[in-house]
Symmetry: C2
Subunit: 124 residues, 2 copies
Amino acid sequence: MDESPGPAALQVALAYYQAWTSKDIDLAMRHLADDVVCDAPAGRIDGVHAYRQFLGPFAQLLLGTELLAAFGDQTKAVLVYDTRTPPVASAPGAECLTVRNGKIVHNRFIFDRLPFEAARRAAD
Amino acid sequence: MDESPGPAALQVALAYYQAWTSKDIDLAMRHLADDVVCDAPAGRIDGVHAYRQFLGPFAQLLLGTELLAAFGDQTKAVLVYDTRTPPVASAPGAECLTVRNGKIVHNRFIFDRLPFEAARRAAD
């Protein structure tokens, strides 16, 4: 029985994931709290505006994604997936999302920056 | 009702995690199939011997770990955690493990290599 005030975290996480991986950043951002905090590899991202600047450009580069695992409970969800972009053929990521009142309030975003850094250096 | 031949994936994953993060690599490796395949940031690791060479030295460096999320079903589990080592104060990781007959047969291991690379360059 679901007695929480909002949908389970996994449901919100999957809606957010489907939106951003289909490049609908407007829709993806609607699943985030305005004061969302994201701990990303390069450091902390505060608020939905900064989050959009972080994720939007990457989403636009996507050539494909594959969801490898998705689990969660009422407050927390974890997504593991692979991404394909022009600079990096396979760049897996993991997001550990905390959801409150139907909105993502925190995300621990994990991926390897090294291949992106290498691609940038090669392009320079 | 658990009708699988072995324990659920999450149970195996947590036993493996507790072992390696407490630096008991012998015990951790006992949760892996001999022909385990690990897709790690630097590439594919084949077999338990190579896996040990990959994880053992890192485990020995650990100053602390914090488990942030652990979910799973009968065949798949995901662990998200933070690690603290002398070169990198906070290096989160995610492992997406597939379990068959009570042993880990595949792992998608995700972490950011960049801070470790930066620490190595600084030390040189």
